[in-house]
Symmetry: C2
Subunit: 225 residues, 2 copies
């Protein structure tokens, strides 16, 4: 888990280059498995890292928020931004303290975001954002009103300059550590949805809507942060 170098196109990964994932389909799949990113930007000459929901739509990431949010307003000015999506998949238990590690995948996108201003395009972006987290939910709920649309700032960040790293598999121990008989292996971390909690308005005999049922029954393959 260390910084890629700054280049056009694919970002260069210097530390653990063997963990680089170059396949664009694999990068898109990683972005689709998660929906929380960490947005980095410079404000007042200092770095800020703020978690945010996102969606991938083709070759762009979509972000949204209040036009009153400093992060959103700052990004809408077209400054440099770094959006990082990380998924932790487990702990790597080596035979030495030093060789302990984590299994993970991480996508870093750098560039400049721009505001989506057209109302129809904004509406479509909001649909993509909802559907990215809960596929099928859009059609079950009230769509945004004109006022809600006006109080939402939507940003798009092109997936032009992207890098991905992933570590998976067992520990890498030294020959002498391997001879010690110490236990080594992986401890996989699972993210899954539990049973939905209806709020106080939902009647006891109401059915859980299909979008939510589908996420729960996806079980251990369910998507998470």
């Amino acid at each position: 888990m260390a910084a890629p170098a700054h280049r056009s196109g694919q970002l260069e990964i210097r530390r653990h280059p063997e963990r680089t994932v170059r396949d664009r389909a694999a990068i898109r799949a990683a972005l689709d498995r998660s929906y929380v990113c960490h947005v980095g930007f410079v404000w007042s000459a200092k770095p800020w890292v703020i978690p945010s929901m996102y969606a991938r739509d083709g070759e762009r990431l979509l972000l949204h928020g209040s036009p009153l949010s400093r992060m959103m307003r700052t990004l809408a000015d077209g400054i440099d931004v770094c959006v990082t999506v990380t998924r932790l998949n487990g702990v790597v238990l080596a035979r030495s303290a030093f060789n302990h590690s984590l299994n993970y995948e991480s996508v870093v996108v750098v560039g400049r975001a721009r505001a989506v201003l057209d109302d129809a395009a904004k509406m479509l972006a909001m649909q993509k954002l909802v559907e990215h987290v809960v596929p099928g939910r859009w059609d079950e709920v009230r769509p945004p009103s004109a006022k809600e649309l006006a109080t939402t700032l939507v940003l798009e960040l092109p997936l032009d300059r992207v890098s991905m790293k992933a570590r998976h598999g067992p520990p890498k121990d030294t020959a002498s550590d391997r001879a010690t008989g110490t236990w080594g292996g992986e401890l996989p971390l699972l993210q899954m949805y539990e049973q939905p909690l209806p709020d106080a308005l939902v009647s006891a005999d109401a059915r859980v809507p299909p979008s939510v049922r589908a996420l729960v029954s996806a079980g251990r393959n369910g998507r998470g942060s």
Copy 2:
């Protein structure tokens, strides 16, 4: 999920101030529940956000990495850094697309890191890092050699300027949406460890070590990213 303002001591949260958590014990507990952070820094006039393991030790965060890592070398120079720890706890399913949200907790630490140079202090920091992820593991494995210690850069970041936000609970729908009969509620997201996977060196009759057994049996209360 939006940016805190820059101030001394507790950082000011401007968006959704009702989500602010000021209790120091709650902030420490949130930092102890997770062990992956996102480190933001400015390099070559651009923002970078890189995932990293961390540990909390009293009133400081510990980071570590290779002295060859640009992130680590850059941070060791004492530049401004923003470290953000986010835990996603579920999806908030409102009756309108607009009011969908996420339940989460997020801690933002800003400041300047410094290198831990003393060998004994570095050794203690490495112990804290391993024990933060897998309590009890340190005593089961070979401690770092002098050479491993020399090839590890340890940084400490004081927990002086910290903010925390958390959202929990059901959706907040408008009165007219509440009257529609649409299903609303929460979809809790669970992180838990699965059964450990011994690597190819471990004999079939070997027992899983106590540190790993304890994490697995913690079950749904197990810590994750």
